[in-house]
């Protein structure tokens, strides 16, 4: 068996060099890596991303926000962010448990490519773009395109995610997120909804982003519903046409039919929550 190694570089250039040689698996929080590890341990070298300078943290940056790839969910919970990020923050609080939030990273959540990744709907609603780097250079792709399918992401060998970039949300925008699961903590979502909504002076919605997870191979925005919300105070009845992008499956957590029913209800509640109304119905 060829010798595998544990790399923990301190700067990104080094990390990208190591990655370019192949046979190396990045590890950040390890919270998806270890549960998926097969018996006998890793067959590849490991590249620890947690010591790379500048990879962890959230900062305001020319006309928007940057979330470093190694930013942990608990960093998101604690960060000082405008109300448009309330949905992302709520999602962060619902990722597994405190233990998982203290290790698991935002980029890891995306790269893992699970249809039930809680980070994806709020990040879609915030218009996130993914910055990817390799020894050859950098590129940026919208999150919609980065996640291509179940466990499939747009990363070539030698590439890694270095950050997410989010445009400055509209003035006064508020985010909200809700997750439906069968128990209080440590639960994979049956469905979840993330929204970002802004209103004009008259209280009418002039910016609406609604994204739904666990109802399709990749979390989806609902453009028809977003369009329908604009110009209203939020009192839009969710129709089958609005949910057209979704294709929920039956699994142990719930049937596809139930998911559709639940998601319609949840959307209404999350929109009201982003309106500052009470969310329990």
């Amino acid at each position: 068996m060829s010798q595998i190694e544990y790399f923990a570089p301190g700067d990104l250039g080094e990390a990208l060099d190591i990655l370019s040689r192949g046979g190396v698996r990045p590890v950040a929080g390890g919270t998806d890596f270890y549960p998926g590890l097969s018996a006998g341990g890793p067959r590849e070298s490991l590249l620890d991303l947690t010591r790379i300078d500048g990879l962890r943290g959230i900062a305001r940056q020319d006309g928007g926000w940057r979330i470093g790839a190694a930013t942990r969910w608990s960093d998101v919970v604690r960060a000082d962010l405008p109300p448009a990020f309330d949905g992302l923050r709520a999602a962060a609080r619902e990722v597994g448990s405190v233990q998982i939030q203290n290790a698991g990273t935002v980029a890891g959540n995306l790269v893992n490519g699970s249809p039930a990744a809680d980070g994806v709907p709020p990040l879609l609603a915030l218009g996130a773009e993914v910055e990817i780097a390799s020894a050859e250079g950098r590129r940026v792709v919208p999150l919609e395109r980065f996640i291509m399918g179940v466990r499939q992401v747009d990363l070539a060998p030698g590439e890694m995610v270095v950050a997410l970039h989010l445009p400055e949300p509209p003035e006064g925008a508020r985010g909200a997120f809700s997750k439906l699961g069968s128990r209080a903590y440590l639960v994979i979502s049956i469905v979840m909804v993330g929204v970002v909504i802004a209103r004009d002076g008259a209280g009418r919605i002039d910016h609406a982003r609604v994204a739904v997870g666990a109802c399709s191979p990749v979390a989806r925005r609902l453009p028809a519903l977003e369009a329908a919300l604009v110009g209203t105070v939020g009192d839009v009845a969710v129709t089958a046409a609005h949910l057209e992008p979704l294709s929920p499956i039956d699994d142990v957590r719930g049937s596809g039919a139930y998911r559709l029913e639940a998601v319609a209800e949840l959307i209404g509640r999350v929109v009201r929550q982003a309106n500052g109304e009470s969310c329990d119905g």
């Binding site: 270890y34 549960p35 142990v252 639940a262």
Partner: protein, 912 residues
């Protein structure tokens, strides 16, 4: 240049610098436990799902099983043992955990306490919500979480300080200290450093023929010490629990009958086994048709699991009393239905684990267990070895709930130790534990119950089939117990109940708290609500009207002259029932989507084996130095036998419980106190302890000719006996010491009086029953189908409460399990084989529980005490279902009631 981390990793562990050279991919948990000796870090799942391995890294709680060991480089790592030793806040928390009885088995305690320390450092006075958020990542299967919450919040302790600690005193657990300091040693904590590691090779198919390949070549290639297969079993390659039903091979021979069945095992050094991939094991599979469901298994032409069991029927149980047909015929109303429940996994946080070694030609097996002497019985057969050459030493057991009654790791350990001559160890992976060990039986039950116009039961007919999986395990017990109990604790004169165990290619179903009775209670108690409603009688009053009473025959024709406490339990719920119903009506007056419901249900359970001998023996002795030693062989799996049995013994002997030294169930020195099952330990072993205490007391008093009422005062090197003004001291050094070092010694046995059941199940199956009634308040979000329990009130007739604090602990833990069974738990072979997909309640799911202790003394119980361990979850699931029906009008007949299922049922019933 790449700056790979030095092969050496350095960090601080509990304040001291440590260096180590972990493998690539080695988890911090493994490094801490195996390289640095921090065995206070517990591993329950290796996947972040249970949180038992929580440690602080630079102050932040993380799962050590998900962190590469190298990632800790330069960090400050803290574990429970270090925190309690070094930080006053943690030491204080440890005392609070003890004072609340917040640690039962103790396997989750390190994870709980470490998480709580992180919270308390930031928020010294946390709210309940903050505590839940902080502990949401740590699963506990014993306590129902409420006492843990109380401990973290610093609420007034439940334990009392009591100098004697006799019957009735809510003292702290006697073995609690080690559980809150990280010193407790469970199955995975006792191996020596040089122990070889065993990994079992298991069938990936539910039914398959297999041929093993070149094992010698494999062993050489992999560098392993030994490969074990059926041909290495020195004795009989079978184990089981019930005579006549010993049918499960240690290693399958040629055919595997369930996914996860063992076909071989590999034994190698820890280094070699860390890189071992079972996929490389040489075995060829030929997949055969399998049956997973009972209907399929009973169909014509279905593959047969065992030749002698035609139609895949393992066996059945039957009870008939009166004339059920006529009674149903004349009934004013009849309710009927088909109810279904699924596999439920025990989900103790400690996976099966142990260690074995050969010492002077004898094999010693140290493992977690509920039944050390049954383990010995099995090993005697499997090893074909003289009993005297086998020693079973139970380790602390991190939860059992019935599944650790069966052997799991023990035969592998013993065979491997004997074959290699070296110390060996094994710990099941979580998935392996879930795939291969027993489950609660799935059931399909058809039940009809009639009542007359006055609301008295007029006929109850029960027909149930139970999926017993590939092997019998405790299936026959379930088949026998269910018909005896399916009436519930009610006067039912006309009755017919039949239960059958059906074999399928599923994991074996075995013992799980209640042996089928919780399933039966779901059907019967649901239909009781329907009957009450149709008759226009209050649901609680309906039950009170039909409650069994002293002098009224049970469905087995057994008449108890005393001790029937169900009516008292039901009546104790009356105030809460009325108040909660009124409150629910108020909540429901609004038109929001959330509806509140209140449900009530009852249960009973016979303590001890059903009409079979069931003795316990308790031994005790006095050493020359004055120490009083109690050989407490009743396996304490967290429920508290170490404390309760000692309290009973101390009461009988008349000395403070603090004067006792406890010795556990080591089969070399401690007699058989039977298995920890059937809610029998407090009753049966408790009686043996009482008799032993009385016998020792008599010996002591006799030596100085003192009367019954004399006071025994143990001391250094002597025992003083005081009677009135007279005080005599027995100088122990002057007495002869026996081979075990005792100057006085007693051993007493107790076997509960029962009588066999005839062909109609008539007889005296148990010497005592315990009784229970639960009330559940919950809220249903009718738009989403989600259910949120708000509160439970639980009334339990325990005869005479030995330790009220431990009773509350049992009740709260049982309710958590019953609630899980009702709302979220379903084991699906191949699909929910880990704690990520198989959901048990978390701290945030568990509402407050109010426990009402009812004491209707039992003539056979020690000082009147009755068993409790299983009663605590029997009424829970039906009380939840009845509350759901109260809230929504929908009677759910299939468990678990997931949001999707409830929503679908409400849709069918015409709810929006």
């Amino acid at each position: 240049m790449d700056k790979r981390v030095d092969a050496e990793t350095m960090f601080r562990l509990n304040g001291r610098d440590v260096r180590l050279a972990p493998r690539v991919g080695e988890r911090l948990s493994e490094a801490l436990r195996e390289r640095l000796g921090a065995r206070d870090v517990k591993v329950g799942c290796n996947a972040g799902d249970c949180g038992a391995c929580t440690v602080l890294v630079d102050g932040a709680p993380v799962c050590a099983c998900l962190m590469p060991a190298q990632q800790a480089a330069g960090a400050e790592v803290e574990t429970l043992a270090g925190l309690v030793a070094r930080e006053p806040l943690a030491a204080d928390l440890a005392r609070r955990f003890e004072g609340q009885g917040a640690a039962q088995c103790g396997i989750c305690t390190p994870g709980m306490m470490v998480s709580a320390v992180a919270l308390l450092r930031e928020a010294p006075r946390p709210s309940e919500g903050e505590v839940m958020d902080a502990l949401g990542g740590v699963l506990c299967r014993c306590t129902g979480y409420r006492k843990i919450i109380d401990a973290v919040m610093g609420r007034a302790p439940g334990a009392v300080v009591d100098a004697d600690g006799h019957m009735g005193a809510a003292i702290e657990k006697l073995d609690g200290r080690v559980k809150v300091t990280g010193a407790e040693r469970f199955g995975d904590d006792v191996a020596t450093a040089d122990a070889l590691v065993i990994k079992v090779i298991r069938s990936p198919h539910a039914h398959a023929r297999f041929v093993l390949g070149d094992l010698d070549g494999f062993a050489t290639r992999e560098g392993v010490e030994a490969v074990l297969t059926a041909s290495d079993v020195p004795g009989v390659n079978l184990f089981g629990t019930i005579p006549g039903f010993v049918d499960q091979p240690v290693f399958a021979e040629g055919v595997a009958r369930f996914r996860g069945e063992a076909v071989a095992a590999v034994v190698g050094t820890a280094e070699v086994m860390a890189q071992f991939d079972p996929a490389r094991f040489p075995v060829e599979w030929e997949v055969l048709p399998d049956v997973q469901g009972m209907a399929e298994a009973m169909a014509d032409g279905a593959p047969q699991l065992h030749v002698a069991r035609a139609g895949n029927v393992m066996c059945g149980g039957f009870v008939a009393h009166g004339d059920v047909g006529a009674a149903l015929e004349r009934a004013h109303v009849v309710a009927e239905g088909e109810f279904e429940t699924g596999f439920v996994e025990h989900a103790y946080i400690e996976p099966e684990a142990g260690f074995a070694q050969v010492v002077e030609g004898r094999v010693e097996v140290h493992a977690c267990t509920q039944a050390p002497v049954m383990d010995l019985d099995t090993l005697e057969q499997v090893l074909g070895m003289e009993r005297a050459r086998i020693r079973v030493v139970p380790t602390a057991t991190g939860g059992g709930f019935g599944s650790k009654l069966d052997v799991s790791v023990q035969p592998f350990l013993a065979i491997a130790a004997l074959k290699t001559g070296r110390p060996v160890r094994i710990t099941y992976e979580r998935t392996e534990s879930m795939q291969s060990t027993t489950k609660r039986h799935p059931s399909r039950m058809n039940v009809r119950i009639g009542a007359d116009a006055e609301g008295r039961i007029s006929g109850l007919r029960f027909d149930g089939i139970f999926n017993t999986g590939a092997y019998a395990s405790w299936g026959p017990t379930v088949a026998n117990r269910v018909p005896v109990h399916a009436s519930g604790p009610y006067a039912v004169a006309d009755y017919r109940a039949e239960a059958k165990g059906i074999h399928t290619h599923c994991p074996p179903s075995g013992a799980f708290r209640g042996f089928g009775v919780p399933q039966a209670a779901v059907a019967q108690e649901s239909l009781f609500d329907e009957l009450a409603d149709r008759l226009g009688i209050d649901r609680l009053e309906f039950r009170i009207r039909n409650a069994l009473a002293n002098g009224v025959p049970t469905v087995c024709g057994q008449v108890f002259a005393q001790g029937v406490g169900i009516r008292a339990c039901l009546e104790a719920l009356r105030p809460a029932w009325q108040a909660e119903r009124a409150k629910a009506a108020q909540v429901n007056a609004g038109d929001g989507p959330v509806r509140r419901g209140v449900g009530v249900a009852a249960g009973w359970y016979g303590c001890g084996n059903t009409s079979l001998p069931n003795p316990s023996t308790i031994k005790a002795g006095v050493r020359a130095d004055g120490r009083i030693v109690l050989h407490q062989g009743a396996a304490d799996i967290g429920q508290g036998a170490n404390t309760v049995i000692a309290q009973i013994f101390a009461t009988a002997l008349g000395v403070p419980v603090s004067r006792l030294d406890l010795v556990g169930g080591d089969t070399d020195v401690t007699p058989d106190a039977g298995k920890t099952s059937a809610s029998r330990q407090t009753f049966v072993s408790g009686n043996a302890a009482r008799l032993a205490g009385e016998a020792l007391r008599a010996q002591i008093l006799q030596r100085v000719n003192a009367g019954e009422d004399a006071v025994i005062v143990p001391g250094e090197g002597g025992v003083e006996v005081r009677e009135g003004a007279r005080a005599e001291r027995i100088e122990l050094a002057t007495l002869e010491t026996d081979a075990e070092g005792y100057v006085m010694r007693v051993a007493e046995s107790y076997d509960p009086p029962t009588k066999p059941l005839d062909a109609n199940g008539q007889g005296e199956p148990y010497a005592q029953f315990g009784y229970a009634a639960h009330l559940c308040v919950l809220e249903v979000d009718t738009k989403l189908g989600t259910v949120k329990p708000v509160k439970f009130v639980a009334a339990h007739d325990v005869g005479h409460a030995v330790n009220p604090l431990l009773i509350e602990g049992q009740v709260e833990g049982g309710i958590a399990q019953g609630m899980g069974m009702a709302l979220m738990e379903e084991y699906l072979p191949g699909r929910t084989e880990n704690l990520h997909d198989y959901l048990i309640p978390t701290v945030g799911d568990m509402p407050p529980v109010e426990t009402l202790i009812i004491e209707e003394p039992d003539a056979h119980g020690p000082y009147g005490a009755k068993g409790l361990g299983e009663h605590v979850l029997i009424p829970t699931a039906p009380s939840v279902l009845n509350a759901i029906r109260d809230a929504t009008g929908v009677q759910m007949r299939r468990l678990p009631v997931t949001p999707g299922r409830l929503k679908a049922a409400m849709g069918e019933a015409g709810h929006a």
